[in-house]
């Protein structure tokens, strides 16, 4: 599926690119500031480690793939 020439293949390849790019990982971390730097929530949360961020990406990848494949026979 990862190398497929369709939208799902593109999504999976894009996610792979994020895993392998320090700049993309930093940008992803920036996307999480709403939560981890939130005035109230930030006091109780520890910013994710690199491994935790990778786990989040794995989860996001599964969610995207499941939703895109849903209804496929």
């Amino acid at each position: 599926m990862r190398g497929a020439a369709d939208f799902l293949g593109d999504v999976l390849a894009l996610i792979d690119g994020i895993r392998q790019s320090p700049e993309e990982m930093a940008a992803l971390r920036g996307e999480l500031t709403d939560l981890f730097e939130h005035a109230r929530a930030g006091k109780f949360l520890i910013p994710p480690t690199h491994d935790a961020l990778r786990t989040m990406i794995d989860d996001a990848e599964s969610r995207c793939a499941d939703l895109l494949l849903e209804g496929d026979d």
Partner: protein
């Protein structure tokens, strides 16, 4: 898969019109108004996906003779030829498909070949008329993106917009800055409550 060859036996103003060796890549059909460009477009749509089941006689009657219908020769990814023939008749017009190994099939064999492609998908993405193109311009960017990407997915039944909407819904169930109902906002309120009690 691509169209390699076609023969119109009779369809609207087109009669006994053929083309072989249609080049791969982009092909442009030029012609004066009323030359039959849209008729040719409808011919492909009708051969591949069927003539209208109702009022079939009024739909592009063969004005210049010939039996309504014709043949489209497709080339698959392996370079093999698949011959699709349809003529006016019962239902949407009987279809005959000749597969690369010489065996013949009907609608079911053709549906298997084209996978998830439907008449609607073909009409909206590969074979739209000028008026449809003009209406397409009125769609906003998200709808255009959705239409294009949906064509390329080839799997599942959700559109990209629906997937994005569902992901946003799942995100908003977890946490919304300034929210009170999402799961993490409720946990945050409880944590702060406990903190106040202990102090």
């Amino acid at each position: 898969m691509r169209i390699e060859e076609f023969h119109v036996e009779g369809f609207g103003r087109l009669a006994n019109v053929s083309m072989t060796d249609v080049p791969s890549g982009l092909s442009i059909v030029l012609g004066e108004n009323e030359a039959g460009k849209t008729t040719l477009l409808e011919f492909f749509r009708s051969i591949l996906f069927g003539l209208p089941a109702r009022k079939q006689r009024d739909f592009y009657p063969p004005l210049n003779g010939g039996r309504k219908g014709g043949r489209v020769v497709l080339e698959n990814e392996k370079g093999e030829r698949i011959i699709v023939e349809r003529f006016e008749g019962k239902g949407t017009g009987p279809l005959t498909v000749t597969l690369p190994d010489g065996s013949q099939g009907g609608e079911a064999a053709f549906r298997e070949l084209i996978g998830s492609a439907t008449d609607e998908l073909y009409g909206n993405v590969f074979a739209f008329r000028l008026t449809e193109l003009q209406s397409f311009e009125s769609l906003d960017t998200d709808k255009v993106r959705d239409a294009i990407y949906s064509a390329g997915i080839g799997i599942g039944r959700r559109t990209i917009a629906q997937v994005v909407q569902e992901l946003a819904r799942q995100r908003d169930e977890l946490f919304v800055p300034g929210g009170s109902k999402p799961a993490m906002n409720q946990l945050l309120n409880r944590l702060e409550d406990h903190g106040r009690r202990w102090n």
